[in-house]
Amino acid sequence: MSFTIATTVDEALVALGAGARPIAGGTDLVVGARHGKAALPADLVAIDRIDELGGVELDSAGVRVGALMSHAEVMTDPVIVGSYTAIADASALVGSPSTRHVGTLGGNVMNGSPAMDTGAPLTVLGATAELRSVTGGRTVSLDELWAGPGRTTANPGELLVALHLPPARDRCGSAYVRLEYRRAMEIAVVGAAAAVTLAADGTVASVAVALAAVAPTILSVDGVNEALVGRTAAAAGPVAGALASEQAAPISDLRASDRYRRHCIGVMAKRAVDAAARRADGESIAVPVNRSIGIGAA
């Protein structure tokens, strides 16, 4: 049993190489252990004091978002709110103010829950994950990273150091909408993110839609780009919704039946595409979308 407090990435990697598990905010790891989901790992390395893991940096390849960015930081970061708004929409919905101040983007991604809120936004925005271990580093797509509920393809010795986002495009907007039964301390019953780029004439130039909590991992909706390019923004939402409903593979559980989830994922996908298109068109819809439109609005 050991608990290492790392202050540099290298220190953390050594501990990981020796078999320790990283703990960032602990809001999944510790709460899960208390809940009886999985015992707390015997060896832990705390990564929450590693400065290198924080911050948002613009570079030639786009934007690098540190894995240790808390949800509270993500939802107010000007670059993310300005150009990658769907991620801010998602972070702003996580748990409660205290959860958001402690919980991290990296923890959300690496925990690999199918209901994670930042997963669908990161997917539609084309994020990649930078993993590092004592033997070197690699960058993988999120699709490759998530292997199933609570599982990733990262090796035990690998640390997620950052998420990389491609440069922001003109007339591009994104949004994340989730179905929630109450306005705090909620888990996505279903959630949908969309990124939309508009052509000069206002029609859809490109679009991506991804779904949360309707499959073992975050689900990218197939064929949505082909179906929507050239359509007006207004016509795009319903088509995206229909595709999302079709492709979802939801389960029935205590939160909702599969039938209701399948219906609602269509509604969420439609709303996400609508909101993303409006943002692409320059309209300012405050973060999170859930508090600006629909049922969760003030």
């Binding site: 179905l179 929630e180 039964y181 109450r182 705090a184 301390m185 219906h263 049922i295």
Partner: protein, 758 residues
């Protein structure tokens, strides 16, 4: 008439709770203390074929393992005694206790509890209310006829208690009606869910046991220990440290005897602290699931003429305190309406679920939800505005209610007017918003209650009361009553409470009764002290005792404020000789008689101090998903005189939030094995602060001569009654028909609006 001119009243326990210095039962640690863990049945209905504790007992660090064989064979519970401390032969719900362990630490105790070998032979599960009442259904209690039931309680196979209320000729009246409307509404069970999961600590000294426990009803808890462990009351002391909420979930007698028995067997103090999941599975207090069928006959002009009702209430496996539920539910299905004929039958049905028991206004929110939804259906049938329909049919002064009680001056009509007026009812609203209105009533519960009052040599006062503070603030309010009688300030009084060996009897924090009954006791006790002070002052001021006025901390001669002596000085004098000590209990208000015929009468067809309320709730519906949000609640309450406005507003706001949860998100889900599936706060969805609507509260203050001090009635439960009903009526307007299941979850609302049934 508010007796407090003070705008804010600081709770005596507030600073301790807010700063964290307050101590709860789980904070108590005693020398040599052991940890208790229970072995639960884990199955819903089975015969025990083998129970072997030898491996558990042999584990190092285990000091005691108890089963039914180790405690007196007592069958207990008020009215319908049907359970034992530990299961004997048969287990009837998943949370039933089979054994208890005391060991050096939690891990050892849990390992020992797990090491107990229990083998079962399955018995048929009874979990459908209608099937349970049908001929030939398997029985939850094979020996039901042998139980020593008290009072006029009527029992049948799988029915623990049946009641009916009948007045006039319903068939004839229905035949005269222009329209007859039949409705069925089905409510899921739900939980009280106090934030503090309960804790019990027991310590023996010789033949006496002291028990610290998170109970709302210390005297009931003591009585339970005495009955089940066969001990005299003089040997059992129950103390309640700060209580982290109850909402009824901590009423009754629960685990005090188990822990006391463990401590005795182990010869060490023993402490039990529940997990959240245990708190949701094991206690015999959760809100009852219910099926309500109502049929009403109305004239074309909107006059209600007759009502018949059939109610099945999920009792769960044991009866706890629920024997009166059928009559109370029947009263709520009748409702505060006038009609010439009524016949309502209600059954408390045994199932293999967790037992039901008094949770804040037992049976009422569900029954009111059914009745008030039905009432909007009636109004629609005759083409009347639902508020106008109510105005035309509610009870009022001099009008006879469904059970035949004739009311004095009551505030129901004014509540209806005030709540509707304060709401957006009738305004132009967006097409996904509506205002629903519901009215409700609730009795006050007169009962015996006592208090002592003393003033010490330094002039500081003390109220020593049997009453229990569960967070409502009503015990805190007692200081205001004592202060008013004695011309002192509330802050001049300390409180000693929650200790059965220090104070006289009180029923506890149950039935909205603290201020009603203990308030009367405190006033009477304070008046004794006031008389003593006046005698002393009369001597000093050379005046007649009757001419002495107690005000502003002084005793002065009437009409001559300068001829005065301070209470502090008088207290000093008294301390040298005849001390300032008062006691009070007072005569409880009377239960009015009624003309209805009540089979299985539990004394609840005629209400003393009836409370009335109306909630008008502004809701918004997300039509595509069925998610409902409550935007605004206008509440108006007649609970008689409001003595402590700050606490009263708190009660209404808390009751409404609990009602919102019950309306929309809080419901127990059962598996086919009759076990609860959502026993954690992740899947059992309470409302959060972020969901709270704006709440406007108005009190219609009509002092009730047959109620509590200054004409105060109860208030703790009434605000919980009409909220779900009002929300339902708002939702029904938007969906176009009522959602006939409670909670009205998003999925159920969506299915209703899509014309699907679940």
């Amino acid at each position: 008439m508010a007796i407090a001119e003070v705008p804010r009243f600081v709770r005596a326990d507030g600073p301790d709770k807010v700063t964290g210095s307050g101590r709860y039962a789980a904070d108590i640690n005693l020398t040599g203390q052991l940890v208790a863990k229970f072995r639960y049945a884990g199955v819903s209905h089975a015969r025990i074929t083998k129970l072997d504790t030898s491996a558990a007992s042999a584990m190092p660090g285990v000091f005691a393992v108890l089963t039914a064989a180790d405690v007196p064979d007592v069958i207990y519970s008020p009215v319908v005694p049907d359970r034992r401390l530990f299961a004997k032969d048969v287990v009837r719900f998943e949370g039933e206790l089979v054994a208890a362990v005391a060991a050096v630490d939690a891990a050892t105790a849990q390992a020992a509890a797990d090491a107990i070998v229990v083998e079962y032979e399955d018995l048929p599960i009874v979990d459908d209310l209608e099937a349970a009442m049908a001929d030939g259904s398997p029985l939850v209690h094979q020996d039901w006829e042998s139980y020593a039931v008290t009072g006029d309680t009527v029992q049948r196979p799988n029915v623990a208690s049946f009641s009916s209320i009948e007045k006039g000729d319903v068939d004839a009246a229905m035949a005269n009606a222009d329209h007859v409307v039949m409705s069925r509404y089905v409510a899921d069970g739900c939980h009280a869910l106090p934030i503090e999961p309960r804790a019990v600590v027991a310590q023996w000294e010789g033949e006496k046991v002291t028990i610290w426990t998170s109970t709302q009803v210390p005297f009931d808890a003591r009585a339970g220990v005495c009955e089940t462990l066969q001990m005299p009351a003089s040997k059992v002391r129950v103390i309640v440290p700060h209580l982290g909420g109850g909402f009824g979930g901590k009423c009754g007698f629960h685990f005090e005897a188990h822990v006391a028995a463990l401590a005795k067997a182990a010869r060490r103090p023993v402490k039990l602290v529940f997990s959240r999941q245990e708190e949701m599975v094991a206690p015999d207090r959760r809100r009852e699931g219910m099926i309500v069928d109502i049929t009403s006959g109305v004239k074309a002009d909107g006059t209600l003429v007759a009502r018949s009702g059939w109610i099945a209430i999920d009792n769960g496996a044991y009866t706890a305190d629920a024997a009166f539920f059928p009559q109370l539910a029947a009263m709520h299905v009748a409702g505060p309406y006038a009609m010439e004929a009524v016949k309502i039958e209600a059954s408390l049905v045994y199932t293999n679920h967790q037992p039901s028991g008094s949770v804040r206004a037992p049976t009422a929110p569900q029954a009111c939800w059914a009745l008030e939804s039905h009432t909007d259906e009636l109004a629609a049938m005759v083409g009347m505005d639902p508020v106008e329909f109510r105005r035309a049919n509610i009870v009022d002064e001099g009008i006879e209610g469904a059970a035949g009680q004739v009311y004095g001056e009551i505030g129901l009509r004014r509540c209806l007017d005030a709540a509707v007026e304060a709401s957006a009812y009738g305004d132009d609203l967006p097409d996904n918003e509506a205002v629903g209105v519901a009215i409700s009533w609730w009795p006050s519960f007169p009962g015996p209650s006592g208090a002592y009052i003393k003033i010490d040599s330094d002039g500081s006062g003390m109220v020593i009361t049997g009453a229990q503070e569960c967070g409502t603030g009503s015990v805190m309010t007692l200081r205001m009553l004592a202060a008013k009688e004695l011309g002192m300030e509330p802050e001049d009084f300390q409180l000693v409470y929650q200790d059965t060996s220090a104070a006289p009897y009180d029923t506890g924090a149950t039935g909205s009764q603290t201020l009603l009954n203990n308030g009367r006791a405190v006033v009477e006790g304070a008046r004794e002290v006031a008389a003593q002070l006046r005698d002393l002052a009369a001597d000093r001021l050379e005046a007649a005792p009757d001419d002495i006025v107690l005000a502003s901390g002084k005793a002065h001669v009437s009409g001559s404020p300068d001829k005065a002596v301070s209470i502090v000085e008088l207290a000093g004098v008294a301390a040298e000789g005849e001390m300032l000590i008062g006691k009070g209990s007072g005569t409880p208000p009377e239960y009015p008689s009624v003309s209805a015929v009540c089979v299985g009468d539990q004394g609840l067809a005629g209400w003393a101090g009836p409370q009335f309320a109306c909630h008008a709730v502004h809701v918004r519906l997300d039509r595509e998903t069925g998610v409902v949000r409550v935007l605004d609640v206008s509440a108006a309450h007649d609970s008689g005189t409001i003595i402590n406005p700050v606490a009263a507003h708190g009660q209404v706001e808390g009751g409404i939030m609990m009602g919102v949860g019950q309306a929309l998100t809080e419901g127990t889900q059962y598996g086919d094995d009759a076990k609860q599936r959502n026993t954690g706060l992740l899947e059992y969805k309470l409302q959060t602060a972020a969901d709270a609507p704006t709440i406007h509260t108005e009190f219609i203050e009509i002092p009730d001569p047959n109620a509590g001090p200054y004409g105060a009635k109860g208030l703790a439960e009434a605000p919980n009654v009409p909220t779900a009903a009002a929300i339902a009526n708002g939702v029904a307007k938007l969906v176009g028909m009522p959602v006939r299941q409670l909670p009205m979850t998003a999925e159920r609302v969506w299915m209703t609006s899509e014309g699907m049934s679940s």
